[in-house]
Structures are given as C-alpha cells and as structure tokens.
Amino acid sequence: MESLYLIPSMPGLSIAIWVAISMVFFYFARVPMHKAIEGLMTGTAGGLRKTALWAKSVAEAMREKDRKVLLESGVASAQEKIMQEFRSVEAGYAKHLSDYPKLQLKLDDNITHIEADYKECGQVTPEAPGWSEVVETIARAQTSNGDRIIEKMLGEIHKSAVAGEKKALSEFRDTAAKRHKILASMAPVWRRLEKLSHDINKKVGSVLETSGRIDKYMTQFEKIAAGGPESIDMLSSKMTKLFIFSLFVLGVAFFGAIINFQLIALPMSELVPAGTRIGGMMVSEISAMVIVTLEIVLGIFLMESLGITNIFPQIAGMMRSKRKILLYAALFGLLFLASVEASLAILREALAEADAALDRSLAGETAGVILNETSSRITVIGQATLGFVLPWILAMVAVPLEMFIEASQHAFTRIFILIMNLLGHISDALAYIIEALFNLLSHLFDAYIIIPTQVANLIENMQART
C-alpha cells in the first residue's frame, strides 16, 4: 500500500492526489462509465424482467390449459350424469311400460265388469198398472150393490187383486235387494280401479321426476359447455374439494395400511426368516408390505370390475363375462389374503405371548400365569378380526385413489401456477431493486466527479462569454 504513496512522508496528501487524479480520470471516462452502468443494469434487471415475463406467460399458459381440462372434464362429467339418467329412464320405461298392457287389460276387465253390473241393476220388474185403483173401485161396488153372487165374485176378485199386489210388491223387494247386492259387489272393483290408477300415477311420477333431473343436468351441461368464468370457478372449487377430501381419505387409508403392516410384520419374520435386507428393510418386512400392497391392488381390480371406478379403460371395455372372471378372481384373492392376515394375526399374538413369557422368565419370575385366559382370548379374536377386516377396508382405497388422480392434476397445476406467479413477482421486485441501485450508483458517480464537472462547466461558460 505504501508503495502507492506518491509522497511517502505525506500519506494524506498522496491519497488526496490519487483522488484528484481519479476524479479527472472518471470525468473524462464519464460517458463510457454511464454506458457500463446502464449495460450492467439492463443485463441484470432486464434479465430478471424477462424471467418474470416468462414465468407469468408460463403461468398463463398453464391456467388456460387447466381451464380447458376443467371444461373437458366438467362436460364429460355432466354428459355422464345425463347418460346415467337416460339409462335410468330407459330402464324405467322398459320395466314399467312392459307392465302397461297388463295394467290396461286389468283396467278394461274391471270397467267391463262394472258395466255389466250396472246394466243388470237397470233391469227392473214393472209393477202391475192400476191394480190399486181397481181394487178400491171393487171395494166400493161391494157396499152399494146387494147381489150376493156378484158381491162374492167381486170379493174374490178383490182378494186375488190384493194377493197379486202383495206378490208384486214382494217381487219388487226381491229385485231391489238383488240390485243392492250387485252394487255392493262392485265396491272391491272400484277399489281395484283406484289402486290401478294410483299405480299408474306413481310410475308416471317417477318418469317425470327423472325428466326433471335430466332438465337440471342439461341446464348445468349448457352452462359448463358455454365455458363462462362462473362455471370454471365452480368446477375448480369442486376439484379442489375433491382433492382435499380424497387426500384426507388416502391419508387415513395410509395409516390403516401401517396398522395392517404392523399386524403382520412380526409373524412374517417367523415365516420368512432371512439375514438379507433390501434398502435397509428386512425381507420379512418387505413381504408384509407386499401383502398389504397386493390387497390394495386387488381392491382396485375389484372396484374396476364392479364398475365403481374407471382407472383402467381396458377393464371398463372388457366383455361382461371377462369382467365377471376378473371380479371373482379379485374377490377370491382378497378373501385368501384376508384369511392369511387373520391367521398371521393369531400367530403374532402367540409370538407376543411367548416373548412376554421369556422376558418374565429371564427376569427371574416363575412361569406363572400372569394374563388370565379370557382376556388373552379376546385379544386373539380381536387381532384375527382386525386382520380379516382390514384388507377389505383397504380394498376401498381404489375409490378415493381415483378421485385423487382425477383432482390432483388440477391441484398440482394450481400449485405450479402459484409458484410461477410468485417467481414472476419476485423477479419483478428484484429487477426494480437492482434498477434503483444502479441509478443510485450512477448518481453517486456523478457526485464523485462533481468538482471536475463544475470546473469544466465554468470554463465552458467563460469561453461562451468571450
């Protein structure tokens, strides 16, 4: 450092001389210096601004892609719902309308029966005309004429007329009673007719209900197909909900799988004892994990062949008979694995008990019974049940897994867009700070060469005046 001193005995003066020299130098180099500062600023801040633009454009492109995917999936989902309703209508028509001719026949039979009954009711036996007036006239003639023969004859006529009237009245009563009986027998037919009409109403009502649902889905479908921002927001929120829910269920299933694994890991070491490890895990532990994974895989195949999920289009496109074979194979496999797990759970309990007995023995206790037998049996039954049930519960994982696959694309795209936007904003902010710093540097440079600048200005002014 001292070698740089122009006057070694006066370091202050030496530094001052160097500063003065540098000022003059920088004054003459001010234009390239400004260009250099500007170039550096453009290089760094400009690069960051380009990065920000790129990040934002990538985010925008991803958003657009996500929007299209959402619309496509929304349209497909709405179409599927409508198709499902049409299928249900078709099934309803096939079922109910096939019954309709029978129903109509029944209705016609009942109506014919009622008509016949009605006609029968209408057939009334006519009353003998004028008999009461004749009998009354004869009765009066009996008292006015004194001829005994005529009187007797008239008396007989009167008697037979009265008897005839009584008979006619009796016949009329009988006929009326018959009619009432017929009318009474019509009541169940009326009730049957009422029931048939109720059945028809119910069936027509269910068809109308389905039609209403189809209308609703059609409106929804039209809205989605139009691709408005509202439908995109709705679909996005639906997907996010689906993602969170499926993630939660998968998380629960993951812990279920861990419990399942813990249940069979120890007995597996009894069945697969080996001194080798793969990736730090014992072979028996890997075997236990393979069993748990197989249960999940079989569950996926079971759900696929039942048509509950649609992860593999090849399975969905299979013939019914082949799908049935797959279904039975998956069911049998699950049943087998569940039985294996139940037996392993029993073995685990036996091993745990043996361990406990050994520990007690090593601790110096006599081999007395510490656990009572009943509680021990309950544990065994509990573990065996758990071992049998858990595989079936794990088999259900296919449903949330499909939901997760469906929703994860949107969720991950959203996260990616968020990261890209963040990168864009950070790059923008950094570019702004760097620009400000370089501007400050430029001003500080101007301030450093202020003395030679002012001197030069003064000389220029003086020259201009002269």
Binding site: E270, G275, R277, G280, L351, A354, L358, S361
Partner: protein
Amino acid sequence: MKAMTKYLLISIVFGFAAAGCTDNDAYETAYCTLADVSGTYAQEKDSVARIIKAGILPEMIPGDSIFLITIDSNSYSEENLQKKLVLDYQPSESNAQKLAFSSTLDEFAANLTESRHTDISGAMMLCSDYLKETRAGTQVMFIFSDMQEDLPKGVVRKFNEGEFSGIDIAAMNIIKLSADSSNPDVYRGRLKDWEANSIKAGAKSWTTMMDPSKIQEFIQKIK
C-alpha cells in the same frame, strides 16, 4: 428393439435390486459382556448373571450376537470365552436360544472358581477382537468388575490406537473396594483413567452405570 428394451428393463430392475440388497450386519448389535471372576468380585457372579438376563437378553433381537468372557489372571485367551451366541432370524428359535443362554449364565453363576489376578485389559482386547469380527453396526462392551487391574508378573497389556474403534463401553455394577470407600478420589481417579485410556484407544463412548435398570435406556441410546 422390443426384446432389447425388455432385457434392458430386466437388467435395470435386477441392478437396482442387487444394489439395494445389503447385509444385515450394519443393522445388528453385538454385545460383549466381561465378567470379573477374580478377588472380591467373584462373589458378584450371581448378580452379573441376573443383570445380563434381565437387562441385556430381552433387548436382543433376531440377528444380534452376544459373547460372555471372563476376566481372570490372563484374560486374553480363547478359553475365557464362555459362550458365544448369534440369534436366529426366526423369533421362536431366537427365544429358545435366549433360554439356553440363560441356562449357561446360571451355570456360570453357580461356578465357584476364582482367579488370583485381574486382567481387565486382556479381556477387553479379546472382546474387541470378537466384536470386530461380527462387523455389527452397533458394538457394545459391558464390563462387570471393580475396575481394579492386577496383572500377574510378565503379562503386558497395551491398547493399540483404534483398539476399541466403533465400540461403546459401559462399566457396570462396579463395586467399591475398601480403599475406594476410604478415599473416593481413588475410585473416581481409577474410572477416569479407564475412560481416558479407552477413548484414546478409539472407543466411541465410555459410560459408568450404577443402576442396572438404566441398561435398556443405554442400549436404546447407542443403537
């Protein structure tokens, strides 16, 4: 092309599997127990056997190994190895082995032989040889002694550098001699010397344990 891809995939899978396959040794623990049968400590055989049975054996898992070595007048000898046990990977079999080892310990406790001198260093060196041979991931040495070395004439013991490398050493159930009771500094100084010498010889750690119930906690800590 298709066949080539198939073979390539198969070789990748097998390559990964082979690379992933590791020997169990790194995950296993080797225990070496040194039991002093000299002088006053010879009376402690019963409690030594009890501590090993109740404290160490239950902590052992399939694949672990244990050595029982006696500390006598000249301990650096194969004859001092009383019993060596490597637990089977089958849990039921390993339980049977533990029971058999427990019987050996009972026999050891019932044995009345007693040595005149105390060669702790020789036993430690023998123990180190056996432990290193196991190549176990965790190697631990338990010394049951009063830690008062008394070498016979002509016996020379010097720890090499790295003699106990990778080994955790625990001095257990140390009984105090009459001189120790008179002046605790003698006892503490003796233990300090052992610790310094062991660490200098590469021991991973040195622990002095008075309470045998802490043995499980200690094993869990070093594993």
